[in-house]
Symmetry: C3
Subunit: 197 residues, 3 copies
C-alpha cells in the first residue's frame, strides 16, 4: 500500500504541474477560462488515462480516484489567474516541466510493475505516461508534439527515468529511496539537456 500511495501522490503532482503548464499553451492562443480548462484537463489527465487504458485493469485512476479531475481543474484555474511575465514563466516552466516529466515516468513505471507486467512494458508505459498528455494536447492544438519536433531528448529522458525506476525495483532498492533518486536524476538530466540546447 505504501508504494501505491507514493505512486498516486507522484501522479497527482504530475497532474497539477501539467495542467498548470498547459496554461502557457492556452495563454499563447488567448483562450478564455473554458479553453484553459480543456487544455488543462487534456495535459493533466491525458498521459495517465492512456497508460491506464493500455494497462487494461478497469476504469482509469483519473476517473475512480476523486482527486484527479479537481486537481487538474485547479491547475488550469491557477494558470488562468496568475499573470506571469513571459520571462518568469519560461524559467519556471523549464523547472516544473522537468519535475513533472520525471514524476510521471516514475509513477507510470511503478504502476505497470504493480499490474504484474514486465520491465520493458514498464519503461514503455512510464515514457507514455510522461509524454502522452503533452503530446495529445499538442496534437489537438495542431503543434508538432515536442516528442517529434527535433526534441527527442524529451522522450529519452522519460525512458531513462522509467528505466532507472525499474532497475531500482529489480535490485530491491526501497521505494522511499529509489523514487526520489529517479525523480532527482530525471529533473537534473532534463535541465542539463535544456541548457545544452
Amino acid at each position: 500500500m505504501r508504494v501505491e500511495t507514493i505512486t498516486t501522490v507522484l501522479d497527482l503532482v504530475g497532474v497539477f504541474i501539467n495542467s498548470l503548464l498547459g496554461g502557457s499553451v492556452a495563454r499563447r492562443r488567448e483562450l478564455d477560462l473554458f479553453g484553459y480548462v480543456v487544455i488543462g484537463v487534456v495535459s493533466g489527465l491525458g498521459g495517465g488515462l492512456i497508460r491506464d487504458v493500455l494497462l487494461g485493469h478497469g476504469p482509469p485512476l483519473a476517473l475512480t480516484n476523486p482527486l484527479y479531475i479537481p486537481i487538474a481543474l485547479a491547475g488550469a484555474g491557477v494558470a488562468f489567474l496568475l499573470k506571469f511575465t513571459e520571462r518568469e514563466w519560461t524559467r519556471l516552466f523549464y523547472v516544473l516541466d522537468a519535475v513533472a516529466l520525471s514524476v510521471w515516468a516514475v509513477a507510470g513505471a511503478q504502476r505497470t510493475l504493480a499490474a504484474g507486467l514486465a520491465w520493458l512494458p514498464a519503461i514503455l508505459l512510464g515514457t507514455i505516461t510522461a509524454v502522452g498528455g503533452g503530446a495529445t494536447r499538442d496534437l489537438l492544438v495542431q503543434r508538432v508534439p515536442a516528442v517529434f519536433g527535433g526534441n527527442g531528448l524529451y522522450a529519452s529522458v522519460a525512458a531513462l527515468v522509467a528505466a532507472l525506476e525499474v532497475i531500482c525495483s529489480e535490485l530491491g532498492v526501497p521505494v522511499a529511496v529509489g523514487t526520489p533518486l529517479a525523480v532527482v536524476a530525471g529533473t537534473v538530466l532534463r535541465l542539463v539537456a535544456y541548457r545544452r540546447g
Copy 2:
C-alpha cells in the same frame, strides 16, 4: 433497463447524425464513397468508443451492439447520396449538430453514472462522448478541432448538458423527464451560441 434503452437510443441517434454530418467534411475534400465511410465511421463511432474504452467495462457498445456499425454506415451512405446545396446543408447542419451534441452529452453522462462512477467523471465523459468523434475526425483530416479553434463554446455546451443530466439524476428527476429536458436545453443553447457568433 428503461434507462439503458433510452441511453442506447440517444446514442444511436447521435451516431446517425454525426456520420451524416461527417459527410460535409468528406464532400469538401471531394472523397469517394469509401472516404465517406471512413469519415462517417470515425465521426459516428469515435466519441462512444473513446468513452467506453475509458469506462473500462469490456468491449465498447459500438462493437457488441449489432446496430452501431450499420447505423454509422447508413449515415455515411445517406450523406454520399443526398446532394444538398451548400446553403441548405449549412442550415440543416447547425440544427442536427446541436441535437447530436446534446444527445451524446446526455447518453455519455447516463452511461458513466450507470457504470457506478461519480458526477465529475460523468460530466467529463459526457463531454468527451459529445466532442470526441468530431475531434478525432478533425485530427485525421488535419483540421484544428472545433473544440480548440476558438470555438470553446462547443465543448462548454456539451459540459453544461452533461451537468444538467447529472443534476436531474441526483435530484431523482425521472429519466423520461430529465432526458428530453437536457436535450432540448442543449440544442437551444447551442443554436443561440451559433447565432451570437
Copy 3:
C-alpha cells in the same frame, strides 16, 4: 491454439515490417536513433494496441507477450543501420507495406472473431489494426494520414482483406488455407493499386 499461434506470428511479422518502414519517415526527418525508436514503436505497435484496447479483453498482447516490444525495437534498429538508396527503399517499401497491411488485417479480424465478436466488428478492427499504427505515426509527425490523403484505397484494401478472412472463417475454410489466401490476395491487390496510381 493453432489459430492463435498463426495470428500471433502474423501480428509479429506486421510489427517488424511496420517499425522497419517507420524508418523511412524517421530518415526523411533526419532523426537520431532515438527518433527511429519512437517512430518504430508507434508504427509497429500502434495498430495492435488500438485493436486490443477496443477489444477490451485485458492488457494488450503487445504488453503481455514478451516478443512484441523487442521486435519493434529490432525493426527500428535495422532501419537505422541499413542505408538503402532512395530508389531501392521505395521499391522495397511498396512490397513490404502491402504484405504488412494484409497480415495485420487478417490478424486483426482473427483476433476479433476469437474474442467472440461478430463479423462486422471483425472487419472494422481488422482495418483499424492494419491502418492504425501508420495513421497514429502520421498524426504525430503532422502528416495527413495516408488513409485520408486521397489514398482511400489503403484502408479499403485492408477492409477487403479482413472481409475475405471473415468469409473464409464463416465458410469453415481451414485457417492454414484461408490465411495465406487472404494475405496473398491483399498483397497483390495493394500492389496493383500502387501501379494504377
